[in-house]
């Protein structure tokens, strides 16, 4: 199945703005994060720590709702995942 990842600000510069990611049926957020870390390559340390976990300030959403990075729910085909740094509008 395929999920779409939207990344913003510094993370968009590293990953791209709208990224289709193929994951096996039943995959959870962890599989998406592994794929994103690979995609970020040498710039992954802006998003992930040395152990491969998302840095504490990174905000993660699934279908418009904030989720925890260790969310164990299975993703569904067509889900939209969003990844962004702390907001700075106004």
């Amino acid at each position: 199945m395929r999920v779409r990842v939207k990344a913003f600000a510094r993370f968009r510069e590293i990953l791209g703005s709208d990224i289709p990611i193929e994951v096996p049926d039943g995959a959870t957020m962890a599989a998406v994060l592994v794929a994103l870390r690979d995609r970020a390559g040498g710039e992954s340390d802006a998003i992930f720590d040395e152990g491969g976990a998302l840095r504490a300030h990174v905000i993660l959403m699934r279908n418009g709702k904030r989720v925890k990075r260790d969310d164990s729910d299975a993703l569904a085909d067509g889900d939209e995942v969003a990844l962004f740094p702390p907001v700075a509008g106004g």
């Binding site: 904030r66 907001v87 700075a88």
Partner: protein, 144 residues
Amino acid sequence: MIGITRDVIDAGVMIEAAKRPGMGALVTFCGVVRDDGGIERMELEVYEEIAVRELETIRDEAIRKYPIESVDIVHRVGTLFVGETILLIVVGAGHRKEAFAASEYIIDRLKQTVPIWKKEFGRDGQERWVPGEPGDRTSSPPPG
């Protein structure tokens, strides 16, 4: 009116449109691109669906919390130069005190929860993402 725009924000038009007979006070907050150590322009980026939803939530919170009649918020994105309006908040109320209090509440919440980011471009060619507010509270639940 709640919205994200890529066009110039006309404060006069927004204020006139917000007026109702019961209002004795309209307080506006206008955020502007500041020349902060040689800044020439900013590029603002938005997660639009979520930003509109968060702005609507802030409007509803302000109307519940303060005795005010109306809240309008328009935030601009795209490329903005020094002196251009980034956002305009218009709060209409019977009296000024609650309108001032509500407008401060709205801008403080907006800076915490609305997914918008700014990149500054200096006249010297330097680029820099403006750091976000610590303790960001975009949507819920809190991060785990």
